[in-house]
């Protein structure tokens, strides 16, 4: 009996406690920068597409919501011909971001992607591509990859040395 009265009092005291609810559309929480929300494709600082169409994101995706087709231009630079993410399947696990070798695919703190029609949740490449480098400013895959690509031979990029002809090293 005493314990019941005590619990009643303890519950009643909550009347004056601060409410924890965030009144969503009016008040918004500041999302942490690494929140896993809407997926974007980023560009390198020079404005080129980072995605090299390696399919690792599609392989890593546990719900198979990523589909793409790789293509190669005349200079040997690879990119995605088309890139499609079905957000009605996506579980925002972030495995694609972890798998990506070029930091192209990234998850953003935007979580407001509700739609009235399911097919509106299928994002094509033009919906996914953003103009900036996202969370990795200054990173340019082709500048550090040591790869021969159109307009850049091996060893010409920053921090690279030209390849050594091993035959000159013979004794």
């Amino acid at each position: 009996m005493i314990s019941i009265l005590h619990s009643l009092w303890r519950v009643l005291r909550h009347t004056f406690d601060r409410r924890v609810t965030v009144q969503y559309p009016e008040e918004r929480r500041v999302m942490a920068p690494r929140t896993r929300g809407r997926i974007v494709l980023t560009r390198d600082p020079d404005g080129g597409e980072r995605c090299v169409g390696c399919y690792l994101c599609a392989v890593a995706c546990p719900v198979d919501c990523i589909a793409l087709q790789a293509t190669e231009d005349e200079t040997g630079r690879r990119s995605a011909e088309w890139f499609r993410i079905n957000f009605s399947r996506c579980i925002f696990c972030g495995y694609c971001e972890e798998a990506c070798p070029t930091y192209a695919i990234q998850l953003t703190p935007d979580i407001e992607i509700g739609e009235y029609y399911r097919h509106n949740l299928i994002y094509e490449k033009e919906h996914l591509m953003i103009d900036g480098p996202g969370k990795r400013p200054g990173y340019n895959y082709y500048r550090v990859a040591g790869l021969k690509i159109g307009g850049k031979d091996k060893g010409e990029a920053a921090g690279e040395v030209p390849p050594v002809d091993v035959r000159t090293l013979l004794p």
């Binding site: 009643l8 519950v11 009643l12 909550h14 009347t15 409410r19 924890v20 609810t21």
Partner: protein
Amino acid sequence: MSETVRLVLCIIIIPNVVLTMAAGLIWLERRLLAVWQERYGPNRVGPFGLLQPAADAIKLLFKEDWIPPFADRPVFVLAPAIVMATGILTCAILPIAPGIGIVDDLNIGLLFFLAMSTMGAYSVVLAGWASNNKYSLLGGLRSAAQMLSYEVFMGLSLMGVVIMTGTFSLREIVEAQRDGWFFVPQFLGMMIFLMAGLAETHRMPFDLPEAEAELVAGFHTEYSSMKFGVFFIGEYAGVVVVSSLMTTLFFGGWLGPWLPPLVWFLLKTMFFICLFILLRATLARPRYDQLMALGWKVLLPLALLNVVVTGAIKLATTGGGV
């Protein structure tokens, strides 16, 4: 104002006010529970979310009113009507204030209330039976046992008040409390009545007939649309009625200084409604056998003791006369 006009107005207004309050309680309960759980509760529909019950009612009306093909159709339809009818009929005996009340000086007022609340048990039992569903039936069985046993202590707990006043008329009971409210001499009776009232209206923590965890929704598992809504409103109407009887029998009804009688009555009733909600917010549901054991092994002897002691004191002080 002539007597007939007064009566007609009371007949129209009082049940409507009780029903509106019962609907408003849906909002009040959700808001209060939210406050005690550090949330906001429904606050979107209208100012402070006050139109939430209207939105709920509209939603319920637009839902499919489905009667299962295996149900006992006439009884299935009748059951929700009973709970509503008994709830509204009990409003007739409430002495809200001098001059406000339908038949509030009925000389068997208290017995009428007990009769109606027993009738209310039929609603739940018949709903459980007519649904022809094992969970509904189990809910109905539980509620039959629970309501019938708590009916006994509810009646006995009120006998103390009846002995002290010598009348069943609620208006005379209120008048007898001018010298002091009955919750002091009848504290035991009040506590037993409170618990029995909780069990009668199958409110938390005594909502075993509809224990979700074990019985889906109990007796109203098969009910949909406004039939479910009627059960819902009926339960809240029961809360309003039990709270106003608490006020009437133990807390001096409309009596009180400064404020008009009507305001006092409403204030006290609201207090008990809030207490009901606080109890819901606080207490966990007991096991079924604990509920029955509490009833028969604790509350029944206490209620009998209350009657015996009150009777003995009355006999000693007045020498047997009333």
